[in-house]
């Protein structure tokens, strides 16, 4: 190959993905260039606001549940994927969307671990506890507060009952998937004087572990170590089943 050809190739590399794919097939006879083996651990970042039924303005950083849920199913189905890490840095958002994501993660048969980085506020709390094991970094915080409605609210007792039932679902999910007691969680949720002009508590990393909300303090290293342990255990169990 001459030098001129080389330059041409480099130029073509920068062009659209479709033509670079054609170029790869032409030059190498295959569509995929050999790369590092696929990771057996996949990640699910939950960042910004959790977007539900209402589309937020483009300036907002959002995680859309219609994007996440198919990915969770793909992870469950793909035999090459053995574990999942959920990365959380969210301010919360839509309760229904958040609960849907939490339920999906909780029902995966593969080992799952979550890391709360920065913040796992509001509806981020059920997502953080939905995994088999949860980690929080020392500086991260989680805001626990009662749920609320935005937009047009019809002021009738039924609205309050609906809200109360929705809140009950969140409390049930969190207490069912973590070691925190219902009394303690409700106490944190309705605490006065911690948040300015609002009720609730901002729980810092170490406190979240102390209350039993999160399993352990830790970051990437601890999470990967734990996940690999769980994957190894699962493999052993599967082998035993085959022998029997």
């Amino acid at each position: 190959m001459t030098e001129r050809d080389d330059n041409q190739n480099q130029e073509e590399e920068k062009s659209s993905p479709a033509s670079s794919l054609v170029e790869k097939i032409q030059s190498l006879g295959q569509s995929n260039v050999a790369s590092a083996p696929d990771s057996n651990i996949h990640i699910l970042p939950i960042i910004g606001q959790i977007e539900g039924h209402v589309q937020l303005p483009p300036k907002n950083k959002t995680t859309k549940y219609e994007h996440l849920i198919p990915q969770i199913i793909a992870i469950e189905q793909n035999p090459k994927i053995e574990g999942l890490i959920v990365l959380l840095n969210t301010v919360g958002g839509d309760v229904e969307a958040g609960l849907a994501i939490s339920e999906m993660i909780a029902s995966i048969s593969k080992p799952t671990v979550s890391i709360v980085l920065g913040g796992g506020h509001s509806i981020g709390v059920p997502i953080a506890v939905s995994t088999d094991y949860s980690f929080i970094v020392g500086t991260a915080t989680m805001t626990i507060h009662p749920i609320r409605l935005t937009g047009l609210v019809i002021g009738v007792p039924q609205t309050f009952e609906y809200l109360d039932k929705m809140q009950e679902r969140v409390i049930k999910f969190v207490t069912g998937h973590s070691n925190i007691t219902e009394e303690k969680f409700k106490e944190l949720m309705f605490e006065k004087g911690n948040l300015t002009r609002d009720i609730g508590t901002n729980v810092v990393g170490t406190d979240a572990v102390q209350y039993g909300l999160i399993n352990e303090i830790g970051g990437v290293k601890e999470a990967l170590q734990k996940l690999n342990e769980m994957i190894e255990e699962r493999r052993k169990n599967e082998e035993n089943q085959v022998i029997q």
Partner: protein, 69 residues
């Protein structure tokens, strides 16, 4: 000007509808990407959605890189 209000900024200064259209989701090699349309035949990659950590190491799809459609 300082505006003290519990309302969100978008409620007071609504975003131009056309701004929504510039941000779109496209599918490139099976990876979902959020792009900003520059209206010159190229789009700027702003976000990629993938659960495979190796996809984030692909130098072709670094945030801010321009893609031709």
């Amino acid at each position: 000007m300082i505006l003290y209000t519990p309302l969100s900024m978008d409620d007071i200064f609504p975003e131009d509808e056309r701004e929504y259209e510039k941000h779109k989701w496209i599918n490139v090699e099976g990876k979902m990407m959020k792009v900003y349309d520059h209206n010159d035949g190229t789009v700027e990659l702003t976000q990629m959605i993938s659960t495979n950590p190796n996809d984030y190491l692909d130098t072709r799809y670094m945030p801010g890189s321009r893609l031709k459609l």
